[in-house]
């Protein structure tokens, strides 16, 4: 009886060992390069998680159908193993661990959001697994000295400082008075730091500096202060909740402010949910389809947007575009490294210098992309109430002229 038990447990231990060691050679199987990704398919980030996954899938299909990745004279195809991290950082870290040590993945794609990327980065770093991520912009990701983390997007502190600079420029180079309200999460607080930097650089003054709670759905108090103090610029960052609440209450309370700058407008589908009330809002974006960057796979932003819409039935938000770009970066790095050695691929990634439809990509030592500026678009509506996002800054990419100051509510 006892011996039976011992034999049984021995056999199962061996079986477990065997099963893990078999799959741990799975980084490149046959002609497939297997990438791993933990994505929020359920939970509070699920909509952006799906945008991310669609972006990844779109690029995998495109690269595979256009000849795949050529390494050592052989052609390989991409394949991604996805797990659902339930929008939960702890779960994301566990899944990264599982992808690497059980599934044998040696190259990772990032999850959605700064918080989850922060949870996964220590794991990939521990195993020396290169991770190209497209949806974690928090500055703190790039100051920790991570060697295997590469982000195709611009860091969060650069999101809205273009807005402050534009406002100062329009004010004849003189500093402006800024009112700001930021949610208390890693991302928004980084955006805030960027504004503080920009204010100091331009000699601007911050007259309202509010923090918004996670459960935000009422910011009337901040707006009453704005009404009283009459700042030149109002900056709001609180994910989709912040953008939707701000526009609703600004319109209801008829708050007049010459410039309104925000983040997450397109994720919030601002122009669709609020229509004309969202007009003139300035929004920070990593990407816009009208930008004229080019590559061989997606041609340009407009073509990407059209193809994406054909496949998934909606206009691609920047979260999808940057996710697609991550795959292009991986392909480029594999081919330059001409190897599947993690260290060599990592070194090739560090030397990336390329243009994609999403923008130029070149990594700083911290891992952030330093070659792609943020763009600002403004919501503009025509007479029939149909609203569109038009790029207004930086001037090089502008497809419309910035409307400034925002007309008063009484004159609309």
């Amino acid at each position: 009886m006892k011996i039976n038990k011992i034999i049984l447990s021995f056999i199962s231990a061996v079986a477990i060992l065997l099963s893990t060691s078999v799959v741990s050679f799975a980084k490149v199987v046959g002609d497939k390069i297997v990438l791993g990704a933990a994505i929020s398919l359920t939970g509070k980030y699920s909509s952006n998680g799906v945008h991310t996954q669609n972006g990844y899938n779109m690029a995998v299909d495109r690269i595979n159908s256009m000849g795949g990745v050529k390494v050592g004279g052989k052609t390989y195809k991409f394949e991604i193993i996805y797990y659902d991290d339930e929008s939960n950082p702890k779960r994301a870290a566990q899944l990264a661990e599982r992808l690497i040590s059980q599934d044998g993945v040696e190259f990772m794609l990032g999850p959605y959001s700064s918080g989850l990327t922060k949870a996964i980065a220590p794991v990939t770093e521990k195993y020396g697994v290169p991770m190209v991520e497209a949806n974690g912009a928090s500055r703190s990701l790039f100051t920790k000295g991570y060697k295997y983390l590469f982000a195709v997007l611009a860091p969060a502190n650069l999101y809205l400082d273009v807005a402050i600079e534009t406002a100062v420029e329009l004010n004849g180079g003189k500093g402006v008075r800024i009112a700001q309200a930021f949610e208390q999460d890693a991302f928004s607080q980084d955006v805030r730091l960027g504004i503080l930097d920009a204010a100091e650089r331009t000699g601007s003054e911050i007259i309202i500096d509010d923090k918004l709670p996670k459960e935000l759905n009422d910011m009337a108090a901040t707006l009453v202060k704005v009404k009283q103090m009459k700042p030149d610029v109002l900056v709001v960052s609180g994910h989709t909740k912040g953008a939707l609440t701000a526009i609703r209450q600004i319109a209801e309370m008829k708050v007049d402010v010459p410039m309104l700058a925000m983040t997450h407008c397109d994720a919030a589908k601002l122009s669709k949910q609020h229509g004309k009330n969202s007009q003139y809002a300035l929004c920070a974006s990593q990407w816009h389809k009208s930008l004229t960057y080019k590559d061989n796979f997606f041609k340009d932003g407009m073509t990407y947007a059209a193809d994406f819409e054909k496949e998934f039935g909606y206009d691609p938000p920047y979260q999808s575009a940057e996710s697609s770009a991550a795959l292009l970066v991986f392909k480029d790095a594999f081919e330059r490294a001409n190897s599947f050695d993690k260290k060599k691929v990592r070194d090739a990634l560090a030397k990336t210098n390329m243009q994609t439809f999403y923008g130029n990509i070149k990594f700083a030592p911290g891992g952030q992309n330093v070659d792609k500026p943020m763009v600002l678009f403004q919501v503009m509506c025509d007479g029939s109430g149909k609203c569109e996002n038009k790029v207004v800054a930086p001037l090089k990419w502008a497809s419309a002229k910035l409307i400034h100051p925002i007309p008063k509510w009484s004159e609309r």
Binding site: T42, G43, K44, Y45, S46, S47, S87, A181, Q184, D210, K211, L212, P213, E215, L216, N217, D218, M219, A220, A221, T222, V224, K225, K227, Q228, H239, T240, K241, L244, T245, R248, Q249, E252, M253, K254, A268, K269, Q273, H274, G275
Partner: protein, 297 residues
């Protein structure tokens, strides 16, 4: 600390009015909670999630081109049946157990609802636009969105209807009898099982109304229910059970308190201050109780 709210009288008035309008809405949710707490001895942690579900009903009407204000009628009807359904499936198994079991059960329902709503409606933050304008007072120094006034008005109407119903109707009397003494009511021929189901249904219907109003005035999201549960719990704790004027007053008080906390401490402490107040009141109540006990000794 920012004392702006006291320096400008207009801001003080604005904060008070905002708080009162908000408080009336909270009081409606709290009244539902007080009702079922009193009758069934159940603290419903899923209260806020029922509110959000009600909000989604109004939102979907809005999506299909119906004015979301009609949600105030449709949402409670649907939510009544949802409430009765929850009662038949879960609550009737825990209704005569101790309070802790019911808290656990409704906590489970809350998690289930959050996930189901997330699954069915997605994780996007949504809202329904009523298109109501704005009311300007005092030389347009004080602005009140009409949607807030509308929601306060509707809340009051529903509260009055409910009070009258409780006083006059047969079911209302049965509910009150059950609340006073369930066993005696049963002996006298009241079908307490039915009364419980109806009470839970009425509570869910009230949540439905409140949810529809919230989708018009604020935003809704599958995970936004908890703050509403906490607020209504807090209001009921302060007012006590079966004390409707008390619920209304403490609701408005809480609304004003939140607004002032928002101005004084910053928006980030808005919900935090409610939690803090809750702790203080619980401690105070305990303190008072222990003094009473000493006196009895």
């Amino acid at each position: 600390m920012d004392f702006m709210v006291f320096q400008y009288p207009m801001i003080t008035i604005q904060a008070c009015l905002d708080g009162i309008l908000l408080g009336v809405l909270f009081a409606l949710i709290a009244y539902g909670m007080a009702l079922q707490w009193g009758v069934m001895n159940i603290i419903n942690i899923a209260q806020g999630d029922l509110v959000i579900l009600g909000g989604y009903i109004a939102y979907f009407m809005y999506l299909y081109g119906i004015h979301p204000a009609w949600g105030v009628i449709v949402s409670p009807i649907i939510m009544y049946f949802v409430g009765v359904g929850i009662y038949k499936l879960v609550i009737n198994k825990v209704v005569d157990r101790d309070l802790f079991i019911s808290i656990l059960a409704t906590f489970g329902i809350s998690i289930l609802f959050m996930q189901l709503m997330n699954f069915a409606f997605g994780a996007d933050v949504v809202l329904a636009n009523s298109g109501y304008g704005t009311t300007f007072l005092f030389d347009s120094n004080v602005v009140l969105p009409n949607s807030k006034i509308f929601s306060a008005f509707i809340s009051i109407v529903f509260a009055i209807c409910l009070v009258v119903y409780m006083k006059k109707s047969k079911l209302g009397r049965a509910i009150r009898a059950t609340a006073q003494n369930a066993r005696a009511a049963k002996i006298l021929g009241v079908d307490t099982e039915k009364v419980y189901a109806a009470t839970f249904g009425i509570n869910a219907a009230l949540c439905g109304v409140a949810g529809a109003l919230i989708s018009i005035t604020f935003t809704i999201h599958p995970y936004m229910g908890l703050p509403y549960t906490i607020r209504s719990f807090m209001i009921v704790i302060v007012a006590g059970l079966g004390n409707l004027p008390g619920v209304a007053m403490s609701g408005m008080g809480l609304g004003v308190f939140e607004e002032f906390a928002d101005y004084l401490l910053g928006t980030e402490f808005r919900i935090g201050s409610v939690f803090l107040l809750l702790v203080l009141i619980l401690v105070y109540r305990r303190f008072k109780l222990s003094r009473k006990r000493e006196y009895l000794k």
